[in-house]
Every structure is written in C-alpha cells, then in structure tokens.
Amino acid sequence: MKASILRFVLKRIALGLLTLFVVSLLIFAVTQALPADPAEAILGREATPEALAELRAEFGLDKPIVAQYTNWLTGVLSGDLGTSYATSTPIGEYIGPRVSASFFLLLIAAVGSIPLSIVIGANAALRRDHKFDTTSSLVSLILAAMPEFVVGTILTIIFSTTIWQLLPAVTYLEVGAPPWSDVKGLTLPVLTLLISVTPYVSRVMRAAMVEVLESDYIEMARLKGMNERTVLWRHAMPNAVGPAFQVIALNLAYLAGGVIIVERLFNFPGIGSALADAVRSRDLPVIQFLALIIAGVYVLTNLLADVGTVLVTPRLRTRLK
C-alpha cells in the first residue's frame, strides 16, 4: 500500500522532470534561436563589428546552437547557472535571493488563500441561497473580474496614498535581506495576490461542496444521527477537496506568473521584477533560468495536486499497484 503510493509519486516526479526537459528545449529555442542579438543590445547600435564579435565569443554565442544548449543544460544541472549579461554577476548570486523572496510571497499567499477559500466556499455551500452565500458570491465575482494590477492599485489608493497612509506603496527591501524584515512593505503585495486567487478557488470549492452536500451519503449521514460538524468535516470535506486541489494547483501556478505584475507594481525585489529587467536588456541566461523556474513551479504544484487528489480519494488510491 505505502510502497504503491511511493512508486506512484516517483513515477510522477520522473514525468515532471521529463516535462521540464521539454520545457527547457522550448525556452532555449525561443530565446537563443531568435534573431535578437544580446551583444548588440548591450553594446548599442554604434558598436564596431570587432567588439560585437568579441562579446559574442565571450558569451559563447558564436558556437553552434546545439553546443550552446548542451553547455547551458550541463551548466544548469551542475549548478553553474552562467553569468548575467547585463550585470556580469553569476546568476546564482543575482537570482537566488530574488527567487527566495518571491517564493516567500507565493507561500504566504498560498497558505492564506487555500484555507480561506475552503472556509468561504464550504460555508457558502452550507448556507446555500442565504445571505452569506449570495454576498460572498457577488463579492468574489467582482474581485475575480479585476486584474491584479487594478486590485493592487485600488489597495494602494486605499491604504497608502489617497485615503489612509498606513502602508508603504512600495516595498523597501534590500536584495538579499529576508523578506519578513519588511512586514509593512509585504502586506499590500500579499493582499493583492490573496484577493486575486481566493475568489476563484472559493467558488470552485463552493460548487464542489454543493454537489457533495446533495449526495446520498450526506443525507444518509444525517439520517443516521451524525451531528452537523461530523457531517461537514468527516463526510463532506474529504469528498469536496479532491476536485478543489486541481484548481488550487492551477491557481498557484498562475500566481507564479501573476507575481510578475504585482512585484512590478510594488517594486518588490523578486523574480517578477528581475524577469522584466532581463527581458528589457535581452539578458538571455537570466530569462532562461527564470522561465525554467516558473515552469518548475507549474510542474511542482500540479504534481502536488495530483498526489493530493489520489491520497484523499480511496477509489484512486486503492487502484495503485
């Protein structure tokens, strides 16, 4: 039983790695094979052909594309991520702290939004068509319809500029400093992410819960004298979270991309702002690595969701061999 689950997880991890490999091919093809010339981007239009050729040789851009890819891949696999073109610093040093800052942001948003959406969704389903349900449905629909930058801007207007001056409109976080050292600066970005994910997930949770609450086994649980708490937590919840896991995973993965805009908005020193800078300066090694990281988040969250769904669904779990 336990071994079968382990085997399933290992198989999914192998599949995830394969996905990442394919993604790395695509990323490399799209960034490196494009005609845009990083050397020209760095040296400007006035640069002499000799200077350009010298820089290209330094970056290894004069080698055949396949060699460039294998160089890059072996580098990534051995921990040597290369050097940023724009800042001339090693990528590990340049990106590392930003990645951990962004992950911290993501983690707080996830830890906050998952239980929040489950509670809101479950309560809306329990009080179907009553005040809590209609209000939360309306509010979540409005919030879900707004893009993150609008939510972020409105929050800024309310909490830091026009109405109250409680919180800073931008994060003053030194690169490399732990993100929790600026709690005030962290509040608005986290809140923005929370508001952009929670409505959607809670609606999905509500739908899953409504379906479960209408089922025969819930009626049966009530008819054999279970109290409402047991009905909700023991009988309904395990059957409702399975489908919700998939949606939560997709949303977290989406956050990894959505975080770019939010970080930009609040000047948060994470992967989002690093990626935006790198794109502007055609800093290929940075773009490639960040794209790989975001793809990794997608693969990881989906893997967690699939494993989670299997773990809470006996019918799927017992089918594993």
Binding site: D216, M220, G225, H235, V312
Partner: protein
C-alpha cells in the same frame, strides 16, 4: 398507547414549501412491532417522502404541513434539531435505495459503522462497540474482521454494500426501520439473500419495518401488510393476502393486473394516462381521470376509507363493488406467424480490451419472433445485443442478417443492413437529444437516408400513430414527456427506418409497472403487425413469460439454457435457471 404499536403515522401531510401544494396528504399508517408493512406506488406517488418523514426529515423544498408520527411512544415531527439527530439511527433508522451512493466513498466501512454507535453513545466503550459491530456483521452474513472493516465501499459488491447498510441500520437496535427500495438494482439471487436478512432481523428484534417498493412481488414475499399510494394518498391498505387476492381499489386492481409473474403465464395489462404532479392533481379522487368506474361523486372530494373486510380498507366509493365490475381480461391470444431466421448468431465471443466476457454464443431470431435474452448483471447479455447492433468493437464469430454476413461495427455495414437492425436503449431519459424536438429525433435516420421533407414528415406521423401517440407530439421536447412517452418515442425512432430486427435493451426497467405493461403490449402489437424479429434483453424474468416466444438464459458469458419461454420458465432443466427462478419473488407463489 399500546406497546405493541411500533410506528403510527397520523393524518400526515407534506407540502412543496414554495407553493404549499400537497405532496402527500391524509396518510394514516400503523405498523406493529415485528411486522413489515409494504408501501407501494409508482414513482412520484410520495412513498419516499413518507418514509423520510418517519425519520423527521424532509428534503430540500419539502415541508411538513401537519400530522403526527409516533415511533414507539415518541412523536418525532415536533422534536427540535438535536433531539431529531438523537432519534435518527437509534430509535428509527433508514436503509437507502442505492447502497453504492449512500455509503461515503472516502470513509472505511468500519468507521461508517462505528460512528453510528458513537453518535448515540451505544455500548459505552470502544471495545463494546467493536464487539457490537462484529455481532451485526455476523447477522448480515458478512465477515466482521478488521481487514474487512478497513475496506472502502467500492471494494464491496452491491449486495455486500446493502448488507453493510442493514448492519448500520440495525446497529443501535432501533424500534422502527424504514427501508427505501433496498433491493432495487440488485440481482435476484442477491435480492433473495437481502430480503431473507431483513425478514430475519425484523422478526428477531421486534422491529416495525416500513418497506418502500414499486415491486409487488417483493411485497407479497416479504410483507405482512401493504399500503398502496397514488398521487400522495394511501388508497388501499390491509393484509397482504387480502389485498392481492381481492383488490378493492381500481388502481390496485390495475397494478396487480400489470405485474408480470414468474409463476404463471399472464398477459399483463397496462393503463393509459398518468398520475399528476403536486399542484396539478384533480379535485376529489386523483385516480378518477383514469378510472373506468368514475362517476360525478368521485370528482367532488377525496373518498373516505371504507372497510372492505376486517383487515382491509380502501378509499373508493365503489370499494365493495370493484371486484365484480373490473374484469381484467387479456386480448385473445393471437396466433403468431413465425417465419424464416432473420438473425443468426453463431459462435460469437466478445470482450473488453482483451478480457473475453462472452464465450461462444449462438442464437437464432426468426421473423415475427421475440427472443428474450436474460441473465444477471455482468452475464454478457448487453454485450451480445451490442454486437448484433454493431455497437461493440471486440467480437469474433459470425452474425448473419437474412443470410448475409454482417461487418463488426455499424459504420462498416451497408446502409440497408444498418437500417434493418434498430436499437432501443434502456434509459429513455438519456437516449433522446434534449435540444431536439422528438419529431427531429425521429426523422434523423430518414434525413441521412436522403428522403424529401414531405416524405419524412409523413413518415414521422405514421410512426407516432404506430406507437399510439398523437401527431402533435412531433413538436414536443423530451423534457415535456413522461418516461413511458419517451420510451414510445425511442421505439418510434427505431421504427421509422422500417427495420426487420428490433433490439430492446432493458427498455422497461426504468418504468413503472403500469407503463411497463403498456410498452410490452405495444411491442407485442408491433411484432404482430410488422412481422418484426425482436431481441428483448432483460434481467426481469417474470416479464419474459409475458412477452417472449423463446428465451436464452445467460450466465458468466455463456448461454446455459435456451428454448420456448413457457418450458424454460415453467420447467427449467438447468440448475442455474432453476435457482434464478426460485430466487425471483412471485405474487402467485406467495399467495398459495
């Protein structure tokens, strides 16, 4: 009140909460301890609503208007929420219709059993509760060891799931139990075991049992008393033998006449019309619009219960005369012309992704003949019929239509061959496109065939007439029709391409008995008039006697017995057939 009375329902009425229209009204029932009362009626008659009210539960949108229900000495409808929770499972328990969907798929059965005991503080200690569960599992003939209790519902068969449901219901030693069609969907041999267990447990523990079903034969077999519901009212009640031998309400009389019986050849008779939903029911007796004995007084107010004999009441102003007036006689038995073989199946084996589930099946269906293919679920009968219809991919052997070899799949077959074999599906709710008028659905094969619009329209009216529906039905959508009407449309759709062979796959199993009888009657007429060869796939053995000339009994993918239906059902030669027939409940056998 006397201690002999287990359950008393007094003047119960439940409404549709939104409109105040009655779903059930004026229900009075008494069940003594240790006795089983069968509550019969067609779908929508309100039997489940009454059953749930006994547990002081009303589904979404339903409310108790008035009435009292005593379980033992406790009136349950007036209890507050916490008190209701306490009596459920302890004083009165419930066995649901579909065990597969009523057991929580995410929880182990051991937990689902023990939590009932915990919720009612039964047994005092965890050990005592575990011991009680073991005891219950033994009583319902299941292993009670820890390995078994750690299984999830999907790891049990349907019959085992229903026994777990029974163990759960009897666990706290309730004095009243409501069983809502607990054997519908189970195979007859499984049903026999479950019924035996129910009978044993109710007798041994002195439980008053309300057994809800649409199957009269099960009632005859199991119950002591019976109450018949129609349109939310109890129209007749009394001792089982009394009511089956001498039904005093015209509706009951029709029900009994429409029920096929394994123990005797009987032409089953249907009845036109249908019961109306709450809010549309007529004033007075709801059965009046369908009743042959109707007179003006019937339409004024609901007739009072009159005593027919000491243990038998009926709500009909002509209760004492009914027996002499309605004579349920069948149409004269016509001679059927059976002709040349139309379908010849020889040595067909079929399977799913490599697993063979049908082994070496050979059958012949002649012109004008109805062959019934019977068997329990999983016996392979539907797979055979799908192979004939060209709906199954994996089969070997030979199927010939009028001597011509047929290709495997319908789409490889010639147009004429495709039109010649038509399929009618089990579920009339799923087999008609809800976004098309029934006329459009019927005309579809003709359009594909390239007929002109006028020709097609004429053909639609013609087939609607054949299935006894007015031409105006062509413009209706499926959701405007009743189950029986939909099945007629499905048959019309099959008939429009003028087939030689009609494959009917469990076509009556979703229908009530009166509707079933009418559909069977229609199919017999069509077979006679059009000389159709018919393959009638069913798990319903009693029905075979009423419709089929020949019967083939399947078990585990093989045909175990084949022959004229009269001799196979009346005098089976194979042990498997014998055991099937013995396990099938029968009114006639029970009344002997």
């Amino acid at each position: 009140m006397s201690s002999a009375s287990g359950l008393r329902i007094i003047d119960l009425r439940l409404n549709v909460a939104a409109t105040g229209n009655d779903i059930v009204d004026g229900v009075n029932l008494t069940i003594k301890k240790g006795r089983v009362l069968g509550l019969v009626g067609e779908s929508g008659s309100g039997k489940t609503t009454v059953g749930l009210a006994v547990l002081s539960h009303a589904r979404r949108g339903v409310e108790v208007a008035h009435g009292q229900i005593f379980c033992g000495d406790t009136e349950v409808l007036g209890l507050d929420a916490e008190a209701k929770r306490k009596i459920r499972g302890e004083l009165v328990s419930y066995v649901p219709q579909d065990p597969a969907s009523s057991l929580n798929p995410a929880l182990r059965i051991g937990l689902q059993l023990i939590e009932v005991l915990e919720a009612h503080d039964f047994g005092g200690s965890h050990e005592a509760r575990k011991a009680r569960i073991k005891e219950m599992m033994t009583e319902v003939l299941l292993p009670g060891d820890d390995e078994y209790l750690e299984r999830y519902p999907h790891q049990l068969s349907g019959g085992q799931q229903q026994r777990v449901g029974l163990a759960m219901a009897f666990a706290c030693r309730p004095s009243v139990i409501v069983l809502d069609e607990p054997t519908t969907g189970l195979d007859v041999s499984t049903q026999e075991h479950v019924l035996k267990t129910i009978r044993q447990l109710t007798r041994d523990h002195g439980v008053a049992a309300l057994y809800i079903t649409h199957d009269l034969a099960v009632i005859a077999d199991l119950a002591d008393d019976v109450a018949v519901m129609y349109s939310g009212r109890v129209v007749e009640q009394g001792e089982v033998a009394e009511i089956f031998k001498n039904p005093a309400h015209p509706y009951t009389r029709h029900l009994v006449a429409a029920a096929p019986d394994i123990a005797g050849k009987k032409a089953i008779i249907g009845l036109a019309g249908r019961a109306q939903s709450p809010g549309k029911r007529p004033v007075g007796c709801a059965f009046a619009p369908r009743c042959e004995l109707v007179e003006d007084a019937c339409r004024v107010e609901f007739p009072a219960m009159v005593s027919v004999s000491t243990r038998h009441d009926a709500a009909c102003i002509k209760a004492t005369q009914v027996a002499s007036v309605i004579v349920s006689s069948a149409k004269p038995e016509s001679t059927r012309k059976i002709g040349e073989p139309v379908i010849e199946v020889s040595a067909v084996s079929a399977g799913y992704s490599g697993d063979t589930v049908v082994h070496d099946v050979s059958l012949t269906i002649r012109k004008g003949e109805c062959l019934a293919l019977v068997g329990e679920s999983g016996s392979g009968k539907t797979t055979v019929s799908r192979a004939i219809g060209g709906l199954h991919r994996e089969w070997t052997g030979s199927i010939r239509l009028n001597g011509r070899e047929l290709k495997t799949m319908a789409r490889q077959r010639a147009v004429a061959d495709r039109l010649a074999i038509q399929y009618v599906f089990q579920n009339p709710y799923g087999s008609l496109n809800p976004r098309r008028t029934v006329g459009d659905s019927i005309v579809r094969p003709l359009v594909i065939d390239g007929k002109s619009k006028d020709d097609a329209r004429r053909a639609v009216l013609e087939v609607l007439d054949k299935v006894s529906l007015p031409g105006s039905y062509a413009n209706k959508y499926p959701d405007q029709l009743s189950g029986g009407e939909r099945q007629r449309i499905a048959i019309a759709r099959a008939l429009v391409s003028e087939p030689e062979v009609l494959v009917c796959d469990e076509v009556t199993s979703a229908l009530d008995v009166l509707v079933q009888a009418a559909i069977v009657d229609l199919l017999s007429d069509l077979r006679r008039q059009l000389g159709l060869a018919m393959l009638f796939v069913t798990h319903n053995l009693p029905l075979v006697r009423s419709i089929a000339d020949e019967v083939a009994v399947m078990s585990e993918g093989r045909i175990v017995e084949v022959g004229p239906s009269e001799s196979v059902i009346g005098n089976p030669q194979q042990q498997y057939t014998q055991s099937l027939i013995l396990a099938t409940p029968s009114i006639e056998r029970s009344m002997r």
